[in-house]
């Protein structure tokens, strides 16, 4: 019974079934909004179709990549892979073995689709012929009376390497998963980050590591300079200074890394310094407000009991009486503010840096407009293992599929004083194309000598 189960678990049919099932789960993950990936869409959907989403949640189809079903498929996949690999080890060992038993008469050796006979040109002896074959990458054993040659002998090992790379990726992924910290932090120009948990955004709340600590990095944001050409962001230079006084530039594609922690640029915002004064000029309040208005969104600023709805136009223009922006370039940044107090509108208007906007009994000043950036902070320990897995997978797949094995058996035969090479050849994967390859090989060898 156990043997039967192991046989089923280790079959390649089972591998194929599992790959198909995993593929189905991945497609489901694309089709059904996943709550970890598309949080906003998921919650909107949950509100509009609570019953449907309840059942999808129940069957874990809204977190399909980490569902028990997917995890059990993965578990079965790796169990199957382990068993297949274990069974293949002796086969691979046998295949890479090079022994005189492989020497066979080329005229009758079974499984060799290429069979030819070549006249040995004048001046070429058996040793020169063997040398010519071996210089073309064949390892030869035997003598001119009968030899066996193999090219890319160790290629079957790459099969094992390729599949071992899966375990490395799995191991690295597991280590990363358990040691992973993920959080978002919004930092404005001049702000200091000390690596404290309270500094991270509360929404979404940081994902704390199951093993290990949160990132220990500490730095100050020195400057933030966004670059935009028309409507395309072409770069951002965030200069930060670490606790050792060393400057680092963060750009898109260029995170700040501190050991296993990365600070990846995710979002840009503006942090205007608004100051609210009363009619006499007395300051009622003011501060830098990190608001999320770049890209046309609306945000809210509250100073005392006055609320301002804020819009932002980086390249402001007034066209046909409508506020707008010529591009996303920061050429002429202007805020549009609508002030409200006690639910009543008290005024609205545009405000530029160093400008003042009068609203009823109040005056709002804009003294400075630095930027703020949102960093996606991630700390993972397993990445080098994952990368090693990727490297091995790439190398192994090239090795196994491009540098596959070619085998030759040959012998020099003499008849009526004429010496001939009788040779048979075969390769993995290909039969007809290998025949062309062997013809070319021996064509070259004999042409070079004639």
């Amino acid at each position: 019974m156990l043997k039967k189960i192991i046989k089923q678990l280790s079959s390649l049919r089972f591998t194929i079934v599992l790959i198909c099932l995993l593929g189905v789960m991945f497609i489901l993950g694309l089709w059904v909004p996943q709550k970890d990936l598309l949080r906003d869409i998921y919650y909107q959907w949950k509100q509009s179709s609570p019953r449907l989403v309840f059942w999808l949640d129940f069957f874990q189809l809204t977190s399909v990549y980490t569902s028990w079903l997917t995890l059990s498929f993965w578990f079965s996949f790796f169990t199957n892979l382990s068993l297949v690999l274990w069974q293949r080890i002796p086969v691979v060992r046998k295949r890479i073995e090079i022994s005189p038993a492989r020497i066979a008469p080329p005229e009758t050796a079974p499984g060799y689709p290429f069979r030819e006979s070549y006249l040995l040109p004048d001046g070429m002896d058996g040793a020169a012929l063997m040398k010519a074959i071996s210089t073309r990458g064949y390892r030869l054993i035997g003598s001119e009376a009968g030899f066996y040659g193999v090219k890319n002998r160790l290629s079957p090992i790459a099969f094992g390497l390729f599949h071992i790379s899966f375990y490395l990726i799995l191991l690295g992924g597991l280590i990363s998963f358990y040691s992973q910290f993920i959080g978002y932090v919004d930092l404005a120009q001049g702000e200091q980050f000390q690596g404290e948990l309270y500094q991270y955004n509360s929404k979404p709340y940081p994902q704390l590591p199951k093993i290990g600590k949160i990132p220990q990095a500490s730095f100050t944001i020195k400057s933030i300079v966004p670059h935009v050409v028309r409507n395309t962001p072409t770069g951002i230079d965030v200069t930060l200074v670490d606790k050792a006084g060393q400057s680092h530039i963060v750009d898109i594609n260029q995170p700040y890394t501190d050991g296993p922690s990365s600070f990846v640029f995710r979002h840009l915002g503006v942090a205007p310094l608004f100051v609210l004064k009363d009619a006499t000029g007395k300051e009622l309040g003011g501060s830098f407000f990190k608001i999320d208005v770049v890209g046309g969104k609306e945000d809210i600023v509250r100073i005392g009991d006055v609320t301002f709805k804020v819009h932002y136009y980086p390249d402001y223009e007034l066209k046909n009486g409508r506020h707008g922006t010529k591009s996303m370039e920061f050429n002429n940044p202007v805020f549009i503010l609508i002030g409200e107090q006690g639910g009543k509108k008290i005024g609205e208007g545009t405000l530029k840096k160093n400008g003042t906007l009068a609203m009823g009994d109040y005056r709002l000043e804009l003294r400075d407009v630095p930027y703020w950036v949102r960093f996606y902070v991630v700390k993972q320990h397993g990445l080098p293992i994952v990368y090693l897995g990727f490297a091995i997978a790439s190398i192994a797949v090239i090795w196994r599929l491009i540098f596959f094995r070619r085998e030759l058996v040959g012998a020099l035969r003499e008849e009526n004083g004429v010496r001939r090479l009788v040779v048979a050849g075969r390769s993995e994967y290909y039969k007809n194309l290998a025949i062309d390859e062997f013809r070319k090989l021996f064509g070259e060898i004999f042409k070079n000598r004639s």
Binding site: I16, T234, V386, Y429, N432
Partner: protein, 278 residues
Amino acid sequence: MAYWEMVFYWVALVFYSLACGGFLYSFIFKNPGFMPKMTKLFALGFVAHTIAIIARFNATGHLPWSGHYEYALMGGWFVLGGTLWVGWRNKELQGLAIATLPLVIIMMGYGYLQNPGLTPKAASLKTIWLFIHVYFAWLAFSAYSLAMAVGVIYLKKTKDALQEVKNESLERFPSLERLDELLFRFIVFGFVTDTIMMAAGSLWAKNLWGGYWNWDPVETWSLISWLTYGLLIHLRVTFGWREKRLAWLAIAALSTVIICFFGVNLVVNTSLHMFQVR
């Protein structure tokens, strides 16, 4: 679109369309002598296509890497470049263009309707990984497309073998056994480049998005596509699936690649692979 880019884009499309029509004529009217002439026309179109890419590069300062139009422009170039190269190395395979030309003409037509505007290179694309990731992605697409083309020819030729009067245009191709092996060779090449593409993409994703794997729709489809071709290789090597079954699989499997390149971003607007240049 830059002026000369537009001119040569249309010249290329016209040449490709004429060549495609010529290849079709050659197959339908069993006139193999027409094929080399059509290959020349196709090559002229390819030259125009190349000039269109150079003109765009000249106007934007970067190679066309992103957005549906640029996918079509560059992807089409790789697929047809591969077809020409294969036909140049082996004259018997010139006719593979019968399957790759329509694919690219549709791609280019679709791309033109999307976003051909000139855009500066988005910051997210400024990395060395772009070249490795995208280059290998196009190589994989090209190889898989050629596998599809061989599959189509294989099936036509199998059907033709049963006819009393043979289609000489199909006779021009290598034997069925050779086509079967060529098909597998293209799949293998595509799988190798696909693997490198995915590994390079993961390394890039770590720097750009903070994680080497984000279950992004395009990422997920590329994994589905990779698994599909991996499966195909296993079916061939281990279970001996070949000939008609493999040909059908090679044709069907290309759909996963097309969905990955064009389909996902068309229906999903949450993909990280938009790069703000949809």
